[in-house]
């Protein structure tokens, strides 16, 4: 697995997206898939930075682990914040998403876009760390 660390601040998001771009290029992902993955990683990293770290007064890095296999690109965001499962929160459903913008709650859009953007998203707490796992299937040639 390849590994790269980023300081846990919002200023890291730009470089993080560039890094995901580069990994997607190496894996040969299509443009649409690359955007979906980039958005997913950005949304989860934002939660880690704003809530896991800044709100908790924690100054720490987060790590991006990645692996390109024959079939997949696997990207893992690993952080040291308190255990937090993004899938445990309630997500907007079809009726929420068809509501007028005047009436709707804005929460949960990030995790919704995360799940929509990737082929598989999962979460685990391992060795005192949160691991958010994003999997993209490579295109069959």
């Amino acid at each position: 697995m390849e590994s790269k660390s980023f300081p846990g601040v919002v200023a890291s998001l730009d470089g993080l997206r560039d890094y995901v771009d580069e990994l997607s290029r190496q894996a040969g992902l299509a443009k649409k898939a690359t955007y979906g993955l980039k958005l997913a990683v950005d949304e989860i990293a934002t939660n880690i930075i704003l809530y896991g770290y800044e709100k908790a007064g924690l100054v720490a890095d987060f790590r991006v682990l990645s692996e390109i296999t024959e079939q997949e690109l696997i990207v893992i965001l690993e952080d040291e914040a308190a255990a937090f499962d993004p899938l445990a929160n309630q997500m907007p459903d079809a009726s929420d998403l068809s509501k007028s913008l005047e009436d709707r709650e804005i929460g949960g859009l990030g995790i919704f876009l995360t799940i929509k953007g990737v082929d598989n998203f999962s979460y685990e707490y391992f060795n005192g760390k949160n691991r958010n796992v994003f999997v993209m299937k490579k295109q069959q040639s």
């Binding site: 919002v10 649409k32 950005d42 934002t46 930075i49 913008l101 005047e102 804005i106 859009l109 876009l113």
Partner: protein
């Protein structure tokens, strides 16, 4: 990311250049708020925006609510295919008119 406000008669054009994420969204929000304070007819030009996260959608929601409460009108310009996909998935696309150029937006906004 950079935001420029330009007034064209009774219309304010908000031109955004660069990515809108949780670092840059507050600056986008500040300028969008200035625009809606100034005018109730707004064009938001996203031609030079490649990436927009849910932080940007939140700003669009705020703009929509501000404009709606003033009986005004907002038009988005030059929204990339990727961003339009995100707007469809989240149902945002139904609430915004999207056109290709600022000139088109100005013509429509001047009509009413």
């Amino acid at each position: 990311m950079k935001v420029t406000l330009t007034d064209q008669e009774e219309i304010t054009v908000v031109e955004v250049t660069g990515d809108i994420d949780s670092k840059t969204a507050p600056e986008f929000e500040r300028n969008a708020k200035l625009a809606t304070d100034r005018n109730d007819k707004i064009a938001i030009d996203l031609t030079a925006v490649e990436f927009m996260s849910s932080a940007g959608l939140r700003v669009l929601l705020m703009v929509y609510r501000n404009i709606k409460s003033q009986n005004g009108k907002v038009i988005l310009v030059g929204v990339s295919e990727d961003i339009q996909d995100v707007m469809s998935t989240t149902g945002f696309i139904n609430f915004f008119k999207i056109v290709g150029t600022v000139a088109e937006a100005v013509v429509i906004l001047k009509q009413d």
